[in-house]
């Protein structure tokens, strides 16, 4: 390798060497090294907790590595802060959103480097015109003056991406950027990535979605248990080989579960409306049945779930559980009636990040896990252990704060928390967001098993393969209305897409 600082044609944009990073009780990265060339998309794969996000945080100056070196265009660098990393042309788009919700879009994009006039005053005009230019490049349909907190999650993600585009970046890291994007937004994102690539940036792309990786990537590096497992060239490999490298065994993703034996109607919804969020929604859900809700982000699926869970008051319609009309006034009430909701956003709605893993899992039922007036340690640990094993949660112990787990393992904690309630009616909203392929198919199996045991399950998902794989019936939603409901025999990718785009108006619920 050349010692000169002038980039040579074959000098990689980024080279990582022997990176080691430990946390108390966890060896998150163990001697990891590979390089990313200028003008390539380099996918980084690994199971939940394999160390991907940690590696990228080391790269972006958020964590100091215990050992190892980082080279940008052949030059050894130490990065002590995200701003310093950015100044060197390294930008990271986070897995978890990290925006200042109270501030405007433009301020977030230029956070820490607002353009100044004399006397240190912020140059608002330049700020907004620069920010707007980036938003336009990203084809974002919102104004740079909007307050970030008022944007949808997907649009907040776009702001996060916009932030990376304020400098001519040499290395851009995308950590699971598509977890909450719609298909249309994904197309825009992929255009941006290809554009960055054409400008000669090295891209690191982290995702659990094989289809994306095989569309975008030039090369694929794999981490397992904090160790580097190798790099594959996309054109010379296939999904099976990648998965084998990633989880150490082959995975049968095509397995189709048997149709469930359904029992009596557990939940019946009649003409339910909630303002303009959703209107005249009717369906029924039987014991032993998995009902999929498919639609675009914003179609009203989450709002229906929240209404059933007592978080919203319906403006019209009836809800019947086991044939009797009920009013669900609060989540506590919903839980009492046997309903569980795995919410859409694990960080905001699902978890108390500063609390340990066990206490998060047992939180909804802690009042029942008592011996006398006190919480029974043994009962809590028993519940934690059950889901720790069933969901293969990766954590050094139950005492670890949930905020220190990897994104996918946090999601598993939320799922465990609600399964542990033994609900009659289980509603899961985007259950496998951020979960690796292996665990994903395990969670799908788990949902099927639960249905087999007589649970009534609603699965809300924006991933077509997921709804098609896991559901017995699928309800397609568009603009707050149920457009059509399909059985497994009827459904095809084409008629499902047609229904959620509002093309089909045949309304059978």
């Amino acid at each position: 390798m050349s010692a000169s600082h002038i980039p040579q044609p074959d000098t990689p944009a980024l080279r990582l060497e022997g990176i080691v990073k430990t946390f108390p009780g966890v060896r998150a990265l163990d001697d990891v090294g590979f390089d990313v060339r200028a003008g390539e998309v380099h996918a980084l794969l690994g199971e939940n907790g394999a160390g991907k996000s940690t590696l990228m945080k080391v790269l972006a100056g958020m964590y100091e590595p215990d050992e190892g070196s980082i080279y940008i265009e052949g030059e050894a660098v130490t990065m002590r802060s995200p701003l310093e990393a950015k100044a060197r042309g390294v930008v990271l788009i986070h897995q978890e959103l990290s925006l200042a919700e109270e501030m405007s879009v433009a301020e977030n994009i230029y956070l820490g480097e607002l353009p100044r006039k004399s006397l240190g005053r912020v140059d608002w005009k330049t700020l907004h015109s620069n920010a707007q230019a980036i938003l336009d490049r990203l084809k974002c349909g919102f104004d740079s003056k909007r307050q970030v907190g008022t944007l949808s999650i997907a649009n907040q993600q776009m702001v996060e991406i916009a932030r990376a585009l304020t400098v001519e970046a040499k290395v851009v890291v995308f950590d699971e950027p598509t977890a909450s994007l719609t298909d249309a937004e994904k197309v825009v994102l992929f255009d941006i990535i290809n554009d960055l690539k054409a400008r000669g940036a090295g891209i690191v792309y982290i995702s659990h979605r094989m289809d994306e990786i095989f569309t975008l990537a030039d090369r694929i590096s794999v981490l397992r248990d904090g160790g580097y497992r190798g790099t594959l060239i996309k054109s010379e490999t296939n999904e099976d080989e990648v998965i084998q490298l990633m989880i150490g065994r082959a995975l049968d993703l095509t397995r189709r579960r048997a149709a469930a034996k359904t029992g009596k109607v557990a939940l019946q919804v009649e003409g339910l409306s909630c303002g303009k969020l959703f209107e005249d929604v009717s369906f029924e859900l039987r014991e032993g049945e998995v009902l999929g809700f498919y639609g675009l982000v914003g179609a009203g699926r989450t709002e229906i779930a929240e209404t059933l869970f007592g978080l919203r008051k319906p403006s019209a319609g009836r809800i019947l559980i086991d044939g009797t009309e009920v009013e669900i006034s609060s989540p506590a009430d919903a839980i009492k009636k046997g309903i569980s909701l795995v919410p859409e956003s694990r960080k905001e709605q699902g978890l108390v990040l500063g609390m340990n893993c066990r206490d998060n899992i047992t939180l909804p039922q802690v009042g029942d896990l008592t011996k006398g007036p006190f919480v029974s340690d043994g009962a809590e640990i028993a519940i934690f252990d059950r889901y720790y094993e069933a969901l293969k949660i990766k954590t050094p112990s139950w005492r670890q704060a949930v905020g220190n787990l990897s994104g996918g393992n946090q999601q598993k904690i939320v799922i465990g928390k609600w399964l542990a309630m033994n609900p009659r009616i289980l509603i899961v909203d985007e259950p496998t967001r951020g979960i690796d392929v292996g665990s994903k198919s395990e969670i799908h199996d788990l949902i099927r098993t639960l249905a087999g045991e007589g649970y009534a399950v609603i699965v809300i998902s924006s991933e077509m393969p997921e709804v098609m794989h896991v559901s017995d019936r699928i309800v397609a939603m568009f603009h707050g209305r149920i457009m059509r409901s399909f059985t497994t025999e009827e459904v095809t990718e084409d008629n499902l897409v047609a229904a959620i785009s509002g093309i089909e108006t045949d309304k059978v619920a």
Partner: protein
Amino acid sequence: MADIRHEIPADRAGRSGPDSGGKHKGGGMAHSGLKSFAGLMARQGILVAFVLFLIAFSVFSDRFLSAENIFSVVRSSAIIGVMALGVTVVVIGGNLDLSVGSMLSFSTVLVVDLHDKIGPGPAIVVTVLATLCLGAINGLLVGVARLNSLIVTLGMLSAIQGLTLIYSGGKNVDIVHQDTTWFKIFGRGYIADIPVPIVIFAICAIVLHVVMAYTPFGRRIYATGGNPTAAVFSGIRRSRVVFATYLISALTVAIAAIVLGSRVMGSQNNVGQGYELQVLAGVILGGTSLLGGSGTIWKSVIGVLILGFIQNGLLLLGFEYYVQWLVTWVVIILAVWLDIAAKRGRLLSPIA
């Protein structure tokens, strides 16, 4: 292009030469030494600071560590200490309570005034109930109406001051037969040679510690303070939890007022003025985050004691009493700084 799999190991072998490898190790070790110190400070920083203070003061004053002095410091810290326990509960639940100082004035005036009018027993009952009502107002406004706790309790601070003056007509109150009433036990009595205020402080601390650490209710308070939205999504009735934390806080104020009234056997209308800041200082020194969701009762006890010992130490060293305010401030800032510095492993924030 060659597969990188073959490049990397070769490179690694090259790097593990004697000098470069050694350098890496050295750096790693210094780093981990610093980190384990940071870790110790993060976990037990407050205890370390406490011990350092005790050592420093005892070097300069031999009276400082005498049993007599220690008892006297703990006893005089008991009133602030009891209130700090309640405020800790409120803060863990994600809110503030700045009204405890003027609430203390109100309750003390009430119990002392009623003592002679309706007898000590009924006076205590009425005082506790009246103080709980004030706490309930805080609880309703913050918990149910979801108003900002800083504003609500700051407003209550001045409202209760007014209420106290209306009640007393601006006159100081006192108890006439100070030596014959059993009411004196709370502030002046001893149980097995231990001053009763210390006993009461200890009992309150143990009870609240058990509640916070071992009951479902305590768990719900931590969850509500840590992430109110997730708490609601977990079926926790957030308004009830917040309401209850203010009741607990008011109850501790009532207890403190009984101790104070019994000790002084009289009360000015503004006895509790400024106590809210001392209480909050003790809570912060104990490492309870003002953001909610973390902190422990026993650390607040230590926080309050540190405050008491610093103030006492300064007096013993011959400083004017107002110097303690400056020193207290410095200590709080240092404590808070060390605490977050230890958590992020460096003194200044990496995020500019």
